[in-house]
């Protein structure tokens, strides 16, 4: 069945360092979404990527969708303490969303 893997599971960085999380699907996806979940909160939508090779930026966040539409990455430049949380990717395959296991980011001030 469909699987979406996400690495790393945890990442501890010093404030100001960069951070990247990777998402890999076992099948080709229609699109991929990224969400952020703060501790004790619910997932909040960040962005959606649809096209092969697409790259989108939101201030310090850069999102990329692979050419084969089976992998994606989220890169944060110069992390801040407000970036703390778990980042999930969610791939759309045959009208169902499959969430990755998430990468928990901790930022030390």
């Amino acid at each position: 069945g469909q699987q979406v893997m996400q690495i790393p599971q945890y990442q501890h960085v010093q404030e100001g360092e960069d951070f990247t999380t990777y998402c890999n699907s076992s099948t080709t996806l229609s699109n991929i979404q990224w969400y952020k979940q703060r501790p004790g909160g619910h997932p909040v939508f960040l962005i959606q990527l649809v096209k092969s090779g697409e790259v989108k930026k939101q201030k310090r966040l850069t999102f990329q969708f692979g050419e084969a539409k089976k992998n994606s990455s989220l890169h944060i430049t110069a992390t801040q303490t407000t970036d703390v949380g778990t980042y999930f990717c969610a791939g759309l395959d045959f009208n169902k969303f499959y969430f990755g296991s998430g990468t928990k980011l901790n930022v030390k001030p």
């Binding site: 979404q33 939508f45 999930f88 969303f97 990755g100 998430g102």
Partner: protein, 115 residues
Amino acid sequence: EADIYQTPRYLVIGTGKKITLECSQTMGHDKMYWYQQDPGMELHLIHYSYGVNSTEKGDLSSESTVSRIRTEHFPLTLESARPSHTSQYLCASSEYLGQGTDEQFFGPGTRLTVL
């Protein structure tokens, strides 16, 4: 802030009880979803709906049912609660905006404990 609501927020119940988790949205979204999430883990799709009288099973649906009689309302029912159902249940909705855009708005969740 998205207008999607879930009740109750917390529920502690005994084994074998029938429970219904409520979810309502006021955004007029056609698509609605139920996910199960254990602390710090991924979200698993339980059920989803494309609109009134439309319901589909996700990968984790065998012990629950849903209904979609009104656009804004998508309740989830567990016929006989078990300790293995202890988890957080998240409801979400989305509006198809064309070109495959499907931003999901999540409710605050129901944290269920089955004793």
